[in-house]
Amino acid sequence: MRVYLELGIRSFRQVLTYRGATLAGLFTNSIFGVILASIFLGFYASTGGADVRGWSQSQTLTLTWLNQSMLMVVYMWGWWEVARSIQTGSIAMDFLKPVNFVSYWLSRDLGRALAHLLVRGLPTFIIGNLLYDLLPPQSAANAIAFLPSVAFAVVVSFAFRFLLNITGFWVIDHRGINYVAMATLNLLSGFMIPLAFLPDPVLAIVNLLPFRAIIMIPGEIYLGQIPIWEGIGIQLFWSVAMLAASAWLLSLGERKVVVQGG
């Protein structure tokens, strides 16, 4: 256990060293937050301030800023470290390490996520609150449940990214998979719009998929848009299911490893 804690702490510190990148990222998150919030304000102006599909204007704005704040915490785009280690062959060295391969990467990712929560998530949400009248958590219970929900979101997101990376054993060029994953998350994770805005048949399918657990459920819990136990339950289910799938796919891939060179 100690080694995984140590790995997490290392990743945590690593993020903190990139101060310039952090400031630049905060600026970019804020600009995109303002752009998305403006678009929703423009849309809500056409309803005369009425709720749409159970989402008030303030709730939608709050979700937009929560999502912008969570974006780096769940690291939705462009994490291909494992795929690259498969390409370069350095994965063979990682297999030799006396640690569980999935836990090795998961503990590193959790350390990274905690650092990003502090230096990217929290400041972005504060900026959002300064610029707009965002809602506080619906109740003290929702506020408390928000934190484990964020942790589960990171785990589901990690397992999803890990699965995509592991396809590197079979697919040499991961860019195609990356594009499809990005488009899917844009549409079906609730990152850009509350999922309730999707057409009903699509929504019925989306609720059966894991993408919602990656970024939107923490926001829904914060806002009281989903019963706390239902939200956490969905996330718990997908965390277990997708980590199990990761371990299984990895065991298939391991058999394929052929290392060249001396």
């Binding site: 995109f32 752009i35 423009g42 849309f43 056409s46 599909r53 499809v180 805005f197």
Partner: protein, 273 residues
């Protein structure tokens, strides 16, 4: 006359380099096709989000779905061409960090043109194709009173927009002459600017509007020409000729950026040993 001949010669050389780079990429056909399909899919997902929103809301700041799609089309055509032209410029920070930029400077061809063709990639063709498709879709669904003046306005706006975005992509390269840190904050202006240009400018907060009209004049190359073409009123209350300022604003912006590039080149100190 001499300088004109030099320019023609330089453009000729640059074109040949660009053509060689393109032929190189065609050798990796599946990778090339995948990149094109990829940018298509990602932009398509964003378009689906727009359809979903208009399914639940009546209008966006008084604009209909098809009018917003018109903006998407114009903005995507402009941005994707500029992005294609700027691929090489994007690599300048890396060239500088690795000490490779010296090679560019000792050749007797304009440093900017060389940087531009140092990496030519057509991966934004997917986005361009999509821009054209949704632009045609918008034209088919909106009743526009086309006049010769409007067509000229549209073409000038697109050309000005390409120049503006290309210059904007150069800013990161210019900054990298002074700092070896990558300056990612500039993405907020390039990608953020192209996102913003896909929506009617008047829905944005005043500070953002001001930024994208008077500092990075993207509003003048997409939104204002679109107002005149679609015969929409201007809720921001600028004088009517604002719709025709695209070439002027783009030119001023390009001159400033060009001056910045010259300063950068003069300031450049090689990192190599």
């Amino acid at each position: 006359m001499d300088s004109l001949n030099t320019l023609r010669e330089e453009l000729g050389i640059s074109w040949r380099i660009a053509a060689l780079r393109l032929r190189g990429q065609m050798e990796y056909r599946s990778s090339f096709l995948m990149q094109i399909a990829g940018s298509f899919i990602i932009n398509f997902s964003e378009l689906l989000v727009l359809f979903a929103l208009f399914n639940r809301f009546d209008n966006l700041g008084g604009w209909s779905l098809h009018e917003v799609i018109f903006l998407h089309g114009v903005s995507q055509i402009t941005f994707s061409i500029a992005d294609t032209l700027s691929n090489g410029i994007d690599t300048v920070p890396t060239l500088i960090r690795e000490g490779e930029f010296d090679r560019v400077l000792i050749r007797p061809v304009s440093s900017y043109l060389q940087a531009m063709v140092s990496e030519v990639s057509l991966r934004h063709l997917g986005m361009l194709a999509q821009g054209v498709i949704i632009f045609v879709y918008a034209l088919a669904t909106i009743d526009i009173d086309w006049t010769a003046a409007k067509i000229i306005l549209l073409v000038t706006a697109i050309v000005s927009g390409i120049a503006l975005f290309t210059a904007l992509f150069t800013v990161e390269a210019i900054l990298s002459f002074w700092t070896v840190n990558s300056v990612e904050a500039i993405n907020a202006f390039t990608y953020g600017g192209s996102d913003l240009a896909q929506y009617p400018l008047h829905i944005f907060a005043r500070s953002i509007r001001w930024l994208f009209l008077w500092i990075v004049p993207i509003g003048f190359v997409v939104y204002y020409p679109a107002l005149a073409i679609l015969d929409k009123p201007d809720p921001l209350g600028l004088p009517g000729f604002a719709s025709y300022l695209a070439p002027v604003m783009a030119l001023v912006f390009c001159i400033v950026i060009g001056y910045g590039w010259q300063l950068g080149i003069r300031h450049y100190r090689s990192t190599g040993s």
